[in-house]
C-alpha cells in the first residue's frame, strides 16, 4: 500500500498545505490541537474537499483538482474511526457492524465477521443498544464497523481522546492487533506522545496546517529543530531499546540501546522484547568528567551536537551517545559555567528512577 497526499485548502483561521507519503504500518499524524490534523484526514476520506491537490492510493487518484477527480467518500474505500465513534443510535451493535459490510463491493475482500468480533472482544455486545456501551466499547465497535466495510486503509481520528486513561490502555492493544492481524495500513491522528510511541512506526508532524517533518518516530521525536513542536515541558528523547537482562534481586532491568545499556527499575519484561524508552530532557544532567561515587546508574560518554539558544533561562543540549541522541535540559547558567558547546565531550547522567515505564512497541 502506498498513499500520497498533497492538499491545499484555506480554512479561514489557517491554511492546510500538507504533502506527505506513507506506506504500511501505523503512521501517526501528530501535532497540537488545532494544527489541522483532522482536516487533513477528512480530506483523505473525502469529507472535506481540498481547493487544490492530489490524493493517491496505490497509484490511483481519489482526488485530483487538476484532472477534476473527486471520488465521493462512499467509493474511496477508506475506513474512518471517529473520535466520538458515531455509532448509529437506532441500530444495535450487530447492525452497526454490518452496515458497512453489506455495502462493500462483491469483490472487495473484507475480514471475517467472527474474526473481527473476536479480535476486538465485542462478541458479548452484539445484541446491545449502542447507548448502553461504555466509551471503550463504543470505540471497539466503531473500529470493527470500519474494518468490516472492507477498506483499503483505516483513518483513526484521536479515537482515544475522549476516554479516561484506563480505557485508553484498554484500546491501544486493539489498534496494534488490528494492524497486525488484518494487515491494514492505519493513519492515526493524535496529540499524545504516549499513544504515538506505543503505536506508530512512522510519524508525520503537523504544525499550523503544514507538515513539519516525516520519518520514523524516533528520528522525528529527537530532531532538535522540532522540539518546540513535538512537545513542551515533557520534551525528551525517544530511544529504541531491547531487554538484555534483568536482576530479580534488585528488580532492575537492563536494556541495550545503540549507545550502551540503560538500567532501570522495571519488572516482568521478557528478554529480547523491543521497547521505546522515553527520557525527559529535564531528567538528564551533564558533567565534564566521569562522575564518581554517585547514585545515578546510567552514565554515558557522548559528544555535544547542539545547544539551543532560546533566550530562556533553560537550555536544551543534545548529546550523541554512540549514535543515539539524548537530550538534556540544563540552566543557561550551568551551560556557561561548564562552558559547554557543540563538540565538547560530556557525561550524560540519567537517574534510573526518572525514566518512565518503557513503552512496548511491537
Amino acid at each position: 500500500m502506498s498513499l500520497a497526499v498533497d492538499v491545499w485548502k484555506n480554512l479561514g483561521a489557517f491554511t492546510v498545505d500538507a504533502r506527505f507519503d506513507c506506506t504500511d504500518g501505523i503512521t501517526a499524524l501528530f501535532g497540537k490541537s488545532g494544527a489541522g490534523k483532522t482536516s487533513i484526514i477528512q480530506m483523505m476520506a473525502g469529507l472535506i474537499r481540498p481547493q487544490r491537490g492530489r490524493i493517491e492510493i496505490d497509484g490511483q487518484a481519489v482526488f485530483d483538482s487538476a484532472q477534476g477527480i473527486n471520488v465521493p467518500p462512499d467509493r474511496r474505500r477508506i475506513g474512518y474511526v471517529f473520535q466520538d465513534a458515531r455509532l448509529f443510535p437506532h441500530m444495535n451493535v450487530r447492525r452497526n457492524l454490518e452496515y458497512g459490510r453489506r455495502r462493500r463491493g462483491a469483490s472487495d475482500a473484507s475480514p471475517d465477521f467472527g474474526e473481527v468480533v473476536d479480535v476486538l472482544g465485542i462478541g458479548n455486545l452484539l445484541d446491545r443498544r449502542t447507548h448502553l456501551l461504555s466509551g471503550g466499547e463504543r470505540q471497539r465497535v466503531a473500529i470493527g464497523r470500519a474494518l468490516l466495510s472492507a477498506p483499503r486503509m483505516l483513518l483513526m481520528d484521536e479515537p482515544l481522546a475522549s476516554l479516561d486513561p484506563e480505557r485508553k490502555a484498554e484500546i491501544i492493544p486493539f489498534v496494534s492487533k488490528v494492524q497486525v492481524q488484518f494487515r491494514l495500513p492505519i493513519v492515526y491522528v493524535s496529540h499524545s506522545v504516549d499513544e504515538v510511541l506505543q503505536l506508530a512506526d512512522t510519524m508525520v508532524l503537523v504544525a499550523e496546517g503544514g507538515i513539519a517533518a516525516v520519518g520514523p518516530v524516533e528520528d522525528v521525536m529527537n530532531r532538535p529543530d522540532l522540539v518546540r513542536i513535538t512537545g513542551t515541558g515533557d520534551a525528551g528523547s525517544v530511544i529504541p531499546a531491547q531487554v538484555a537482562d534483568s536482576d530479580p534481586n534488585f528488580g532492575i532491568t537492563t536494556l541495550s540501546f545503540l549507545g550502551g545499556e540503560f538500567r532501570l527499575p522495571a519488572a516482568g519484561l521478557e528478554q529480547g522484547k523491543r521497547l521505546r524508552l522515553r527520557v525527559r530532557a529535564r531528567d538528564v544532567s551533564l558533567a565534564l568528567t566521569r562522575p564518581q561515587d554517585v547514585s545515578v546508574m546510567n552514565i554515558f560518554e557522548g559528544t555535544v551536537t547542539s545547544v539551543s539558544n532560546s533566550g530562556r533561562p533553560q537550555t536544551d543540549v543534545s548529546v550523541d551517545v554512540g549514535g543515539t541522541i539524548i537530550w538534556s535540559q540544563i540552566t543557561h547558567k550551568s551551560l556557561s559555567e561548564l562552558d559547554i558547546e557543540p563538540g565538547c565531550t560530556v557525561y550524560v547522567m540519567v537517574k534510573a528512577v526518572a525514566i518512565d515505564d518503557p513503552v512496548v512497541h511491537p
Binding site: 476520506a45 473525502g46 469529507l47 465521493p72 467518500p73 462512499d74 467509493r75 474511496r76 474505500r77 477508506i78 475506513g79 474512518y80 471517529f82 466520538d84 458515531r86 448509529f88 443510535p89 437506532h90 452496515y99 458497512g100 455495502r103 462493500r104 443498544r129 449502542t130 447507548h131 464497523r145 470500519a146 466495510s149
Partner: protein, 231 residues
Amino acid sequence: MFDLSQAEIAAVLLSLKVSLWAVGISLPFGIATAWVLARLEFPGKTLLDALIHVPLVVPPVVVGYLLLLLFGRNGFLGGPLYDTFGITITFSWQGAAVAAAVMAFPLMVRAIRLSIDAIDTRLEQAARTLGARPFDVFLTITLPLTASGIVVGVILAFARALGEFGATITFVSAIPGETTTLPVSLYTLSQIPGEETGAVRLVVLSLIVAFGAMFTAEVIARRVRKRIAGS
C-alpha cells in the same frame, strides 16, 4: 342515545377517509419539503417557507377560495386536470382531502423539519465513509432518525384534517354523502331549526372520534420513540 343513524356513520367514515388520504398524500411531500428547508440553502428559501405557512395564518375560507380558483374547471390546475384526465376534484370527497391536506401541511412540515434539524449530520458522514450512497444514507440513517418527528407531524396533520371546516366548505361545499364530513354535517344541522338533538349527537361523536384518534396516535408515537430510543 348511541344507535347511530346511517348518515352519522357515513359522516364518521367520510371524515376518517378524508383525513387519512389528506395525510397520506401530503406525507411524501411533507418529508421532502422539510428536508429541503432543513438542509438546503437556495435563493427564495424564505419565500418557499412563507408560502408553506400561508394556511396557518390566513382564514381557512381564503385557502378554500384559492383552491376553488386553482382547481376549478377553468383553473390553473383544474383546467388541464379535466382536459387530460376528465377529473374534477371540486365538490368531491377528493377535493375535501386536498383542502384538508393543504391546511394540515405546514404543521406536518414544521414537526418533521424540527426533527431533521436535530439529527447529528456527522452520523450521515460516518455512513458515507462506510460505503453508503447519499440516498441510501437518507433511507437508512436520516429517515429512521426522523421517525419520531414524522409521527408527530402525521398526528398533528391528521388532527388538523379531522377538524378542517372552513376551507372544505368553501372548496367542496356540503354535498350530502360526498363532502359532509363530521364538521360539515354538524354545521349543516346547526343551521336547521329543530335539529338540536342531531347536532349534539354529532358533537359527542366528534369528541369520541378525536379522542380515539389521538389515543391511537399516542400509542403509536410511544412505540416509535421506544424503538429508536438512542442517545
